[in-house]
């Protein structure tokens, strides 16, 4: 109790300090660089190459926001954050936004004083088991030992799922994904559980992927999305609508290849409004008129980013599934630009 009062006071001190200063948008413009909190390394979502250049699905969103706000997708400082430090890094002002595969939950949105600007990837928790175990459904895992990363929502989902199905399990706590993979390979646990996107990448990297199966059950909802600080709604709007611009661009067929052509003006009024040919959408939130053009040019529309970083043509090979456009049976749905 005492501890939470202590941290509450700190949090309040941090917030009042934040209010006293300029808005995030002014800060970013004055600094000339967007501080973007990313994962310290997650296959396909955020990874540095040999020269220290970051790339990935989450990183692409940082670039799009930087392009929309500053006009240059390279003006991003990537701040790698761990599972423990990510939210404090945001609330303390060390980063302007988090694009770090964080699950949108009630308590994070309210109690931790963050705002989730949207969902850029609908994930869910799955299981991987060895093929020769003969297990074909998560319902058959009663009594199994399960490798699980500590300090994540997956840990709580696992407990909920087994309790709801009246089954028992033996948790084997691991610290990181790499350790979990090794423990599972060494036979320390019967099943490995993490987000389905992570399982697919893990299985693809094994020497014998054919000997491991990912069970069909998805036991949780993990809407992953970018987060900003509570209280600066203008900045939240910018991040939210940059994400929607990428999604809408895919819906209306705006790609990095044809965007220059379309930005000259088209028959479709919605495209014209998105690209700033008609109306004044950008200035309404403090940006340039062609903010969305720059954001989409940074890495292409949502579909192009997906295909280039984690899609079926990459070694990770994730299908669109829930992340397809709403017109294709998925959940990606951008509100109207007007």
């Amino acid at each position: 109790m005492k501890k939470s009062v202590f941290f509450g006071t700190l949090m309040a001190a941090g917030l009042t300090a934040g209010i006293a200063s300029a808005t995030t948008l002014e800060d970013v413009k004055a600094r000339g660089v967007l501080n973007c909190g990313v994962n310290t390394g997650l296959v396909g979502f955020a990874a540095p190459d040999a020269n220290g250049n970051w790339s990935g699905f989450d990183v692409a969103l940082c670039k799009a926001v930087a392009a929309a706000v500053l006009g240059d997708p390279t003006k991003v400082k990537y701040v790698p954050t761990t599972g423990q430090t990510r939210f404090t890094a945001l609330t303390s002002g060390e980063v302007d936004m988090l694009a770090r595969n964080s699950t949108w939950t009630f308590s994070r949105d309210t109690d931790l004083k963050m705002d989730f600007a949207g969902v850029n990837y609908y994930d869910g928790q799955g299981f991987m088991v060895r093929k020769d175990s003969g297990i074909t459904s998560a319902k058959e895992l009663d009594g199994a030992s399960v490798c699980i990363q500590t300090g994540t929502t997956t840990e709580m989902n696992l407990a909920d799922y087994f309790k709801a199905n009246n089954m028992t399990y033996q948790p084997i706590a691991v610290d990181s994904n790499a350790e979990g993979e090794q423990q599972y390979l060494a036979g320390a646990c019967d099943a490995y559980t993490t987000d389905a996107s992570g399982l697919a990448a893990t299985r693809a990297a094994y020497a014998d992927p054919e000997n491991h199966v990912i069970l069909p059950e998805i036991i949780s909802k993990e809407p992953l999305g970018p987060a900003v600080r509570h209280g600066d709604n203008q900045w939240g709007d910018i991040v939210r609508w940059t994400l929607f611009a990428l999604i809408a661009a895919e819906e209306y067929g705006i790609t990095s290849a044809n965007i220059d052509e379309l930005a000259k003006g088209t028959e479709n009024p919605e495209i014209n409004r998105i690209l700033g040919v008609d109306g004044d959408l950008g200035p309404m939130t403090g940006l340039e008129k062609d903010w969305a053009v720059k954001a989409i040019k940074a890495g292409g529309n949502y579909g192009e980013i997906f295909a280039a970083t984690i899609g079926e043509s990459t070694p990770i090979g994730l299908a669109r599934g829930l992340n397809a456009q709403w017109t294709q049976g998925g959940l990606m749905y951008a509100p109207p630009f007007r």
Binding site: L42, G52, G93, Q182
Partner: protein
């Protein structure tokens, strides 16, 4: 005819050549028999040990032998191993080290600027040498004195003038101390600190701006977040070691002091720091400070962590040195007093040289453990070489699945550095040994 009581039938006139010792009493066989098979229990233990070593070696040797150094990805490593050693063979994929070794060494430091950390490391060896080996010319100590500021400028870049201003502040403090010295040591120290701090607060701002325009000597700045790997570990380790020893000595003396305030403060500091885990302090450095400092303050993360690491190891070193002080016979203190030496002279000439000599093993093991503890900065999002760098490399799909290679490589480098420190401390102990010779 001589008169002998008994006559000899045979008298040897020449010496026999010495026989070689029996085979069982010399060389390898003697050593083996005495050390490995001297009784039935030891024989059993020896055989068990050999079996264990054989088991481990035969299990791991193929993995090392099948190692691949040149490949573009882990799947390619696996193909090469399968082609060379047959299907099902496993082996190390050292190619990941080969491809990413610069990241292990420099983190995300800009590649075109690698010469700066390399030069700094070379200069560090030159600067440290006269401190470690007294037979080297004393003139080299000038390099050691300049090195810390030079290293800051080389590693972080930016304009040279702020660094020069820091040095000027020290010079001002020194001059004030010299002037005030005739009125007493305490006054001199206080005056020097006040003068230096006043200098740093008021002078650099305007002077930097002017000098920066007149003589713009600057290197391309590098942000602390770009530091990583062993560059980060050695920066933190070397900085922490260099600062924690003097601080530790002061704390140890403070704890022994008769002055109530100084003694209480030293005890509280030491006990507080020793009672709190290092990770807690690191979190304080990286997160809590952000809440207290006014927004927009840019307090460098490496500097923050280095200060906390320094305070942490200084508390331990203070206790190690206190052990050394306690081990000195009372007579040494009394002898120093009898010679009419004041407190500082007695400490400098009589007490500390002996106390520090006794404390060498403890001090060096504190240094070694501090150097290894620098890997804990992974929890505040800095790219230390043991976990963060391998994790970020594994996030590249080409190297996902490599695991032990990273640990073995990083472990080997840590071992080399720590083993050198340990060997040096043993050399120093032998050199300073004044008894039994």
């Amino acid at each position: 005819m001589s008169d002998t009581s008994h006559s000899a039938v045979f008298v040897r006139k020449t010496m026999l050549p010495p026989e070689p010792a029996p085979a069982r009493q010399t060389g390898v066989s003697k050593w083996v028999r005495e050390n490995l098979f001297s009784g039935w229990l030891n024989t059993i233990l020896t055989l068990a040990g050999i079996a264990l070593i054989w088991g481990l070696a035969s299990h791991f040797y193929p993995w090392f032998r099948h190692g691949v150094w040149n490949a573009a990805s882990l799947p390619e490593c696996r193909q090469i191993i399968a082609a060379r050693w047959g299907e099902g063979a496993t082996g190390a994929c050292w190619a990941v080290i080969h491809a990413r070794w610069t990241q292990f060494i420099f983190g995300f430091y800009p590649p075109e600027l690698f010469w700066r950390p390399v030069l700094t490391f070379g200069l560090m060896l030159v600067a440290v040498a006269p401190v470690l080996f007294t037979q080297l010319p004393r003139g080299m100590l000038k390099v050691s004195a300049v090195f810390p500021l030079l290293a800051i400028w080389l590693l972080w870049g930016g304009s040279i003038w702020p660094v020069v201003m820091i040095a000027a502040g020290f010079a001002v403090g020194y001059l004030v101390a010299r002037i005030l010295a005739r009125w007493g040591m305490i006054l001199a120290i206080l005056g020097a600190v006040v003068a230096a701090v006043l200098f740093w607060i008021f002078v650099p701002g305007p002077v930097d701006a002017v000098l920066g325009r007149v003589l713009p000597i600057a290197l391309e700045p590098v942000a602390s977040r770009q530091f990583g790997g062993f560059l980060l570990a050695i920066t933190l380790g070397a900085g922490g070691i260099a600062m924690s020893l003097p601080l530790g000595i002061l704390l140890a003396l403070g704890r022994q002091s008769d002055m109530f305030l100084i003694k209480t403060f030293s005890i509280m500091f030491i006990e507080f720091i020793r009672g709190v885990p290092l990770i807690t302090l690191l979190f304080v450095a990286s997160l809590l400070l952000n809440y207290f400092l006014p927004p927009g303050t840019n307090f460098d993360i490496i500097l923050r962590v280095m200060i906390l690491v320094t305070l942490f190891s200084a508390a331990y070193i203070a206790e190690v040195i206190r052990g050394g002080l306690a081990a000195l016979p009372r007579g040494q203190y009394e002898a120093a007093d009898a010679l009419g030496l004041d407190y500082w002279k007695a400490q400098r000439l009589v007490i500390l040289p002996q106390a520090l000599k006794i404390s060498i093993p403890g001090i060096v093991s504190t240094f070694i453990s501090m150097f290894k503890d620098t890997t804990l900065v992974t929890f505040v999002g800095l790219f230390e070489p043991l976990k963060s760098i391998p994790d970020s490399i594994r996030a590249d799909i080409a190297w996902k699945g490599t695991y032990w290679e990273h640990f073995i490589f990083v472990g080997a480098i840590f071992f080399i550095l720590n083993f050198s420190m340990s060997r040096y401390s043993m050399y120093l102990e032998r050199k300073l040994k004044r008894d039994h010779r």
